[in-house]
Symmetry: C2
Subunit: 115 residues, 2 copies
DNA sequence: TGAACTATATTGTCATGCAAGGTAGCTGTC
DNA sequence: GACAGCTACCTTGCATGACAATATAGTTCA
């Protein structure tokens, strides 16, 4: 029950994790925002709107984690491709390490046998 | 580098996840706030301050996910024990399901082979 | 008397996700 | 040539949770 609590909690849980997903998606390939939304949605569990992904990408740029390239498209407006910088790769590695600890902690707490 | 970005991101990532940790810790046993902080810290990856755990527990109570019992202690002030209600157990199950999807999505995106 | 530990609680600040809205290019059809 | 529908970008305002800082109070031991 209480679908409202669950919906709100899900939103909170995604804070930070969507940022990590986007950065991880850029690992080794350059992508543009609209495509990232489609890819993560297709991968499952990571559906997000454009109003979420564009601010994330802007922040990455501001903090020097990515560089951008504008590329004309025959299917619509020009696409802004994002690619990781060295700093972005370093930070991704650090974030994945922190993620691993928290993830394992939760999985431990939620599955450990009780006395 | 940029330890500031990483520290801030970590704070954001923990949103919602600490709530899940606390609820999961209450699965099958009743605990009090101060003890939850120690247990999760000992479990690793889930260090949080008391200023974080008490608002979480208050919210759980307000939303009917837990019931409380005040118990005198010989080692200090009285302890407020929290135990899951049926609603709390239902919600924990739903949250763990949502958690699993997001967790797997991130692990997929961050480890998949690239072309 | 006071330090150290146990135990609970609140206030104010900050960053993020998201709904909602806006702009603009390209394709096809009526 | 108007209009719908897809592609693609961006911004504003709101709600929410984590945390530092701070406060209160009981117990033990020096």
């Amino acid at each position: 029950m209480d679908p409202e609590f669950l919906a709100n909690w899900t939103t909170q849980m995604r804070k930070g994790l969507l940022e990590l997903s986007v950065l991880a998606a850029l690992r080794g390939q350059r992508l543009y925002g609209y495509d990232i939304v489609r890819r993560l949605a297709a991968a499952g569990g990571l559906v997000m709107s454009e109003g979420t992904v564009y601010p994330i990408l802007s922040r990455f740029k501001k903090d020097g984690l990515v560089e951008t390239t504008l590329v004309e498209s025959a299917e619509g407006p020009a696409r802004k491709y994002y690619q990781l910088t060295a700093k972005g790769r370093q930070l991704l590695a650090a974030m994945l390490a922190a993620w691993g600890e928290v993830r394992d902690g939760i999985d431990r707490v939620s599955t450990e046998r009780l006395p």
